[in-house]
């Protein structure tokens, strides 16, 4: 409260403001703690999941005793212990094109703490149409990203002044699903996602305390005409956090990258955009298709007869029904380190691919694709591959 630049008026703005946190996971938990601690008056939490044991290392507001509870209820329970004074609103379901506009319109600022591209584009589109600032963060494995978008908000299609970009301006197209990683599949370091969530709260508090979430005409007149913060936000900074397990914190652990402003040809906020709340509600655009969720699964390379489950393999081996062979486990090293089938040789799939590429490039025998310990006694030794 007594921090320079905050003071009584900053604190009063926080008390009179409202924040919607979408996602009560690795980003939403740490963000919500600091949002509640700052005394923001109304805090909405939206998430359709329940607490699972695998969440707890990073979703720090949940607890072993609340496994199975809706995350929204678990997080609000925790926040009430921290600060009982804010009004807490629970939305124990996922954001949809149908429920978003009504809920999001009641808040001053939105935190995107979700975990998938389709929801991220949906949130951004609502923020453009409802003119809400968006503090967006994401994290997976050992990397994190943070950016403030749509702040200060300005109407769709306005270009007579520098305007802040939306999520689509900065990230025009989602990656193909095959290239995208989720925390559940790829793993995530707790402190990395926590750092990004805390930073989201920091950005939200800054915006609300200085009234930047309001359009200029509605902002109180105790500031100048255009602040440095505002100029900076129309070409926002993308903060990147790279956590390196093999080295200490270094000069490139944090990088601040300069992004462009609002794009004239942006699908959502650009000139002549056809995006509307009615359209979104009716299913236009189709977010799942845009993000490739409806892509057909890749065709299987092996027929069912060529496949064997781990249990069936184990039984056949114990009965001695298998010829002498080599069993390859092509999962990543870290997965294999937790256990594998007795006698399996670990050659991660990526390593196989790289060996194959090297042979193709530099020449060599096909069996060199495998390390010597995985080649067996001769060319005819059958190879069994185990994955997952």
């Amino acid at each position: 409260m007594v921090v320079p630049g905050m003071g009584k008026y900053g604190q009063l703005r926080l008390i009179n403001s409202s924040v919607l946190i979408i996602g009560a996971g690795g980003l939403g938990c740490p963000a919500a703690q600091y949002i509640a601690g700052a005394g923001i008056g109304t805090i909405g939490i939206m998430d359709g999941d329940v607490v699972e044991p695998s969440n707890l290392h990073r979703q720090v507001a949940h607890a072993t005793s609340r496994i199975g509870m809706p995350k929204v209820d678990s997080l609000i329970t925790h926040l009430r212990f921290l600060n009982p004074l804010p009004t807490y609103m629970a939305y124990p379901f996922h954001l949809t094109p149908q429920n978003g506009a009504d809920i999001m319109s009641r808040y001053d600022l939105i935190l995107d703490c979700t975990d998938n591209p389709a929801t991220r584009y949906l949130i951004s589109d609502f923020c453009v149409l409802l003119q809400k600032p968006l503090v967006s963060a994401a994290s997976v494995q050992k990397s994190g990203q943070l950016i403030v978008l749509n702040c200060p908000p300005s109407p769709q299609g306005v270009f007579d002044r520098p305007c802040a970009p939306c999520y689509r301006c900065c990230f025009r197209k989602p990656p193909p699903p095959s290239a995208d990683l989720s925390c559940g599949e790829a793993g995530i370091m707790g402190p990395v996602v926590g750092m990004m969530g805390v930073a989201q709260a920091g950005e939200a508090i800054k915006i609300l305390a200085s009234g930047l979430h309001l359009p200029p005409e509605r902002r109180s007149s105790d500031g100048g005409s255009e602040t440095d913060t505002e100029r900076n936000l129309t070409q926002p900074t993308l903060l990147i956090y790279s956590y390196d397990l093999a080295s200490a914190v270094g000069p490139y652990t944090f990088r601040a990258l300069k992004m462009g402003g609002r794009r004239r040809n942006c699908f959502a906020c650009g000139e002549g955009s056809t995006l509307t709340l009615e359209g979104i509600r009716a299913g236009e655009p189709d977010y799942a298709q845009f993000c490739g969720a409806l892509m057909p699964p890749p065709t299987a390379a092996l027929t069912p007869e060529e496949r064997i489950t781990a249990a069936a393999y184990d039984e056949a081996r114990r009965k001695g029904e298998l010829p002498p062979h080599v069993l390859l486990d092509i999962r990543e090293r870290e997965h294999f380190s937790f256990g594998g089938i007795d006698g399996a040789v670990n050659v991660p799939f990526g390593k196989l691919l790289m060996n194959a590429a090297k042979i193709k490039r530099d020449g060599g025998e096909a069996e060199e694709v495998l390390p010597p310990e995985a080649r067996g006694n001769g060319r005819d030794t059958p190879i069994f591959v185990s994955w997952g």
């Binding site: 975990d115 997976v140 494995q141 193909p176 995208d180 925390c183 462009g260």
Partner: protein, 110 residues
């Protein structure tokens, strides 16, 4: 490798982040020495660099995780000296000595 006195090569650094380093031998920073002009005599630009990275630096054969239809695949941001390459002319940007080029895949987890 190094910039020759007559300026025949350009030395730059290329960084990969957000998981892309996986495709480049798990190394985040690479020093790269490029010819100052391409085979047709034009100054070396980003298109040349991207092609060069695919042919010379990428250890992983999954090129489509980096380039799709001859362009950087959706979901990868390209930064020229820490600014979105959109502000610098994207693929037509002509590389300068000591430039830092960062490729970072956008993340969606949380």
């Amino acid at each position: 490798m190094g910039t020759t006195d007559n300026g025949n090569t350009i030395d730059i650094t290329v960084d990969f982040s957000g998981g892309l380093e996986m495709l480049f031998g798990n190394q985040r920073r690479h020093s790269v020495s490029l010819p100052a002009v391409d085979s047709s005599g034009k100054p070396t630009n980003m298109t040349f660099l991207i092609d060069y990275l695919c042919t010379h630096l990428m250890k992983d054969p999954r090129v489509d995780l980096f380039v799709l239809d001859k362009h950087i695949r959706p979901g990868i941001l390209v930064l020229i000296n820490d600014a979105d390459w959109e502000l610098e002319g994207e693929e037509t940007y002509e590389l300068q000595p000591r430039d830092n080029i960062l490729f970072v895949s956008t993340l969606h987890g949380g």
